[in-house]
Amino acid sequence: MTHHYKAVILGAGPAGLSAAVELARSGTEVAIVEDNPDVGGQVYRQPPEGFIIKEEKHLVARHKIGHQLIQNLKKLSGKISIVHNAYTWGLCNNKCLAVLHNGKINLIEFDKLFLCEGAIERSIPFRGWTLPGIMTAGGLQKMVINQGLLPGKRFLLAGSSPLLLSVAASLVAAGAEFVGVCEATSYLANLRLLPNILTHGSLLSEFISMQQKLLRRSVKFYRPYTIASAEGEAKVRKAILAKLDNSWVPIPGSETQIDIDIVGLGFGFLPHARLARLCGCDHVYDPLQKYWKPMTDQYMQSSQPNIYIAGDSKGIGGADVAELDGRIAGMHAAFELGNITQREFSDQMNVLLNKKLRIKKYVLLLNQIFAPRDGLYDLDGDTIVCRCEGITAKEILAGIDLGARDINELKRITRFGMGLCQGRTCESIVTQLMIQRDVSINKIGYLNLRPPLSPVQLGTFETAASKDIDR
């Protein structure tokens, strides 16, 4: 089945929803293609069907913003079509999406495409990190605040991210017996950023009050520490923490051991730019954040014509930036399509661009404080790097020593990234290991993606109109 829309948005998180609202306001017909059963993405996740949830105090403000955005979307439902449970696995000739929906292949043609694929968590491995009970901090948060399940009694949150405190607060509110927060960031080391921090006074005070609350509820802090290894048989039972020096290298002899049954790892986020890679647009490496991201201009246009990239998938900035991105992209496209006037465009766009400039300063500050440092990638040889295929750090380094000089070649030699997740979890780890071995980032590159972007059953393609999508 082939459909055609003027504007197609991939992803119904803050960026996608904001772009949809902006486009629909200007009279443009929009289709949103969303993989999940509901809109909102990760940050504005809707309650499960049949659930009524009363949000924790520290999440109410965020919930309100999400709620408003979804209300705005509903008001414009005449112009917005949303396809749920629709998985986009390919992109044909940069002109149409290949989507799996209800077990069938659909082709969705567009004049303008908005890629709002969001973010995924950055994984930093250590011995034992694949044990059951060890999750990402975001995954743990979803389990607690959205699914209503406290998966254990004694929790350790480890990493370097503003998310850790929020998850700690959720765990405490849900009645966890013990919550430890192990942060690699040293606040003393970040003292030099104090003047910048003070210009964002309200956010600083929010942070301090959150800290105080947690300390009052006996949350134990370990700073600057990281999780050096985890032990257990069929699930995690113990975590060994190590103190870090200024380069975040574990200090020998500083280990301390705690008994826990669930670990939440929060080392920040990575752009989930999958279709962005498929479309062949230019990418650039961010050395502070240690990730590749698609390049966009100030209007969110990628280097491929008619393709916009908005939100975390173009560079991690959080929900506020994502919404502005979505509005900017939507407004620009609406202007290009002739649905708003030059005057309207200039007036409104300037407001958005200025707003974004202000928020970005804060985002940059957070990045400087929380971005991972090299020491965390000093891995034990037996540490698993590629979970899907069971490839260890030793095997990756051996592949580099065998002469692999770019990440695609290394993948073909060692088989990392060839499993079910196609490198989403391990590519960032392997990239850092190659940098450690003095391969320049421009030689390393990033993994070439091919369809399907996620596993699709072979039988599904029998019904495909192959004539339509053959090249």
């Binding site: 073909r412 060839m418 596993p455 029998e462 192959s466 090249r471």
Partner: protein, 378 residues
């Protein structure tokens, strides 16, 4: 050896070129292999990986049988496991007519010394339990000494061995120019270097045509794009490399099943995976191996292969450029032949003539596909 001078220069780091470099080094010749990118990253690294003797053009069979012997020795010498397994090759005869053709070929191959047998439908089902129960095919043809390997790892390993034996393997060195003087190739240039040698071998697959043009030769070689889809890792459920009609599949040692997504003649050198590949594979397994319908495709890739009009390679010394040799046009089934081609080209250059009859592979021959001689499945 002076840095850019050698006895022989080989252009192309696929299995043919690397094997040639290895064989020349083993014969004590100085050799430089120039690869435009990274070795094994084109057709040789993206192919099905079948190491097959049966069902070839009659002229190729003696080469393939000799090659299998080299494979056996080579595997022992390579530094790491390249996934080579002699798990057999099975061609399923879809119709009684096809069975008859295969039977004729079987007799001919047996008379040439190949261990090969015809199988009834029942026998085939004994080998492969997952065939659709209602597919009433005619039978099959099976060669137990055929097999497959991880094609990329094989080429990389051959290059490592060649280096160990003294060959120079230079990557990211695309040839930009070739100079002829008095009917001999005297030098070739890359972006930064100029190379001199007594003899030259072009084993550059789809890029052979352009290189030939540079010395005033017109080649009949064409480029096709081949596509492979890869499933999630599956438990062991068949051994041989399976071929039927215009479809093949093989199970890699790690568990993933590779399925052919067809091939297209193309004009541009484009390795994008075509979306048609998915329907191609799905339509061909649906009624024949229906269990695969529920299996996930997790990735796919495409590669560029070099075809000759009669689908057998050109292995020759160029008639009016006596120090230039060509080994290209393997038409999608050159992987098995790589090692023997390397040995034969090395013999030709070092000893004056190859030890096997290569007259069927001459440059400038009458490139007619003669089907009775030329059973080439895929």
């Amino acid at each position: 050896m002076i840095y850019n001078d050698a006895d022989v220069i080989v252009i192309g780091g696929g299995i043919a070129g690397s094997s040639t470099a290895l064989s020349l080094a083993e014969k004590g010749r100085t050799v430089i292999l120039l690869e435009k990118g990274r070795v094994g990253e084109e057709a040789s690294g993206r192919c099905a990986g079948g190491v097959r003797q049966q069902n070839r053009n009659v002229a190729e069979l003696p080469l393939a049988m000799e090659s299998i012997k080299i494979w056996a020795d080579m595997i022992n010498e390579l530094e790491y496991d390249v996934g080579y397994r002699r798990s057999g090759n099975l061609q399923i005869a879809m119709t009684p007519d096809e069975y008859t053709s295969l039977h004729r070929i079987c007799e001919r191959e047996k008379s040439m010394g190949l261990k090969v047998e015809m199988l009834s439908q029942r026998d085939v089902r004994g080998l492969i339990s997952t065939i659709a129960k209602d597919w009433d095919f005619a039978g099959g043809k099976y060669c137990p000494t055929d097999g497959s390997a991880n094609p990329l790892l094989v080429v990389k390993a051959i290059c490592r061995m060649a280096r160990k034996k003294g060959a120079a393997i230079r990557e990211h060195e695309p040839v930009t120019g070739m100079t002829l003087k008095s009917g001999q190739l005297t030098s070739i240039s890359t972006f930064d270097n100029e190379y001199h040698a007594g003899a030259f071998v072009i084993a550059a697959g789809p890029w052979t045509h352009k290189l030939c043009n540079q010395v005033g030769l017109d080649s009949p070689l064409m480029v096709h794009r081949d596509q492979i889809l890869v499933t999630e890792p599956m438990q062991h459920h068949f051994d041989p490399f399976i071929i039927y009609g215009d479809m093949y599949m093989r199970r890699a040692i790690e568990g993933n099943v590779h399925l052919w997504g067809g091939h297209h003649p193309i004009a541009a050198f484009d390795k994008q995976l075509s979306y048609g590949a998915f329907a191609y594979a799905a339509d061909r397994i649906a009624t024949k191996f229906p269990y695969l319908k529920k299996v996930n495709i997790i990735r796919g890739f495409a590669g560029l292969t070099c075809y000759s009009p009669d689908e057998i390679p050109i292995l020759d010394q160029i008639p009016n450029i006596s120090n230039l040799f060509i080994a290209a046009g393997f038409s999608g089934h050159g992987f098995c032949l790589g090692p023997i081609v390397g040995k034969l080209m090395a013999e030709w250059i070092a000893d004056g003539r190859p030890s096997l009859d290569l007259s069927a592979f001459r440059w400038g021959r009458n490139y007619n596909k003669n089907d009775s001689d030329n059973y080439n499945c895929l």
